[in-house]
């Protein structure tokens, strides 16, 4: 696992402890973007899924982007 993903996972765990859903959505979205850039669709879809669910809950403006990407990956 690269440092970038490792760091993001640490931040995600911290945000989970804080129950900061808006931040969690953003962090999952960032991690998804990293995997997406690397062409790992399965990992990207996993993280986009979490970003999407938390964006639904928090009315995050990036919701549409997450949904669109999951649709493009045929995951919704």
């Amino acid at each position: 696992m690269t440092d970038e993903i490792s760091n993001l996972n640490q931040e995600i765990l911290a945000a989970h402890s804080q129950k900061d859903k808006a931040l969690l959505s953003k962090l999952y979205g960032q991690a998804a973007g990293v995997w997406d850039e690397r062409g790992d669709q399965d990992q990207a879809a996993f993280y986009f899924t979490h970003a999407w669910i938390l964006a639904l809950e928090t009315d995050d403006p990036d919701l549409e982007h997450y949904m669109q990407r999951l649709a493009e990956l045929n995951r919704v």
């Binding site: 859903k21 399965d42 996993f46 999407w52 639904l56 809950e57 009315d59 990956l73 919704v76």
Partner: protein, 386 residues
Amino acid sequence: MSNSDLTSVLQPVMTANGLPNAHYVSDDVFAEERDKVLFANWCGIGFGKDIPESGDAMPIEFLGMPLVMVRDKEGAVKVFQNTCRHRGMTLVQEKGKVGGVLRCPYHSWCYSLKGDLVATPHVGGPGMNKSEGIDRENLGLIEIRSHVWRDVIFVNIDSQAPAFEAYAGEAMKRWGEFEGQPLHHSGEDSSFSFDVNCNWKLAVENYCESYHLPWIHPGLNSYSRLEDHYHIETPGHFSGQGTVVYSPMISEDGNRFPDFDGLSEKWDSGAEYIAFYPNVLLGVHRDHAFALVLLPQSKERTIERVEIYYADQDVVSDNWQDMRTSNTAMWKEVLEEDVFVVEGMQKGRQGIYFDGGRFSPVMDSPTHVFHHWVASCMMDKVQAAE
């Protein structure tokens, strides 16, 4: 319990007995009443003020039924069975903001505030959010029929009762002058509750009649005597009492709460209190109103939630806080005076030779009307109509 035990309840008040002890002390009858009296009619479960903003949700367990009240994005109140369609997990655990969706805390299935299932994460494997056999169209939350009237959130759990407008039509007509007028609530200082050791019906029965007022509420004798009260009886719907000598509270500096708009002379000194069957007790006055929702916890324990409302938005401002606090304290004192009575009647019904009691034909008929309604609900409709 057999129907024959209720035939005496259905007699005219002159010869009727009250409901038998079993209706207060039996787990079996409590369960039967749950289905035939409470789930079969429109019950109050909470208040619009509990969920004032879009995205607010409040769970409530009503007679064992997990429910959640939700304010949707258009501002409408919805009530759902608070159970995820996936593994049956309780969906909303505590009162608060849920945001844009109701997300199950177990596997994160998400429902819109209108109850539609909108997301099933990883349902088809990691990162795959759809699956054969998962038809979201048919897996929305189970919505419970609900209606908000006088800020009380009513539900009809078995969905067989008449439409609320028909069910409450007689009460709406009686209080037509108040119908549709906004009710303003100030928050904590207009809100209180009691946890009472009695069957829920005893709270209704005590509320229905004015007979007890001079003994239990002696403070009323000086300005609202027994003879200033009258019965309200609309069989099958509600019963209660009214007074012709209501006098609005006046502060030391001469202020009084603004009145509701356009009231007739009747309400200059009139006030009415009805038990809207089965479990909502309402009061109206020219300048304020209240609603009391009875939440049965068991056959012998009831939570009473009381909320007080005002006619004018300005009254919920800080300017009126002292008067509001005094008004709340006055009602809390009056209603608290009734607690030992309803708890005493509950204990009295452990007496195996108590026969339901003999009503005063003159003073107790609103209570008899309520008992008649309960008995009719418990019996099949043909027998009840005879």
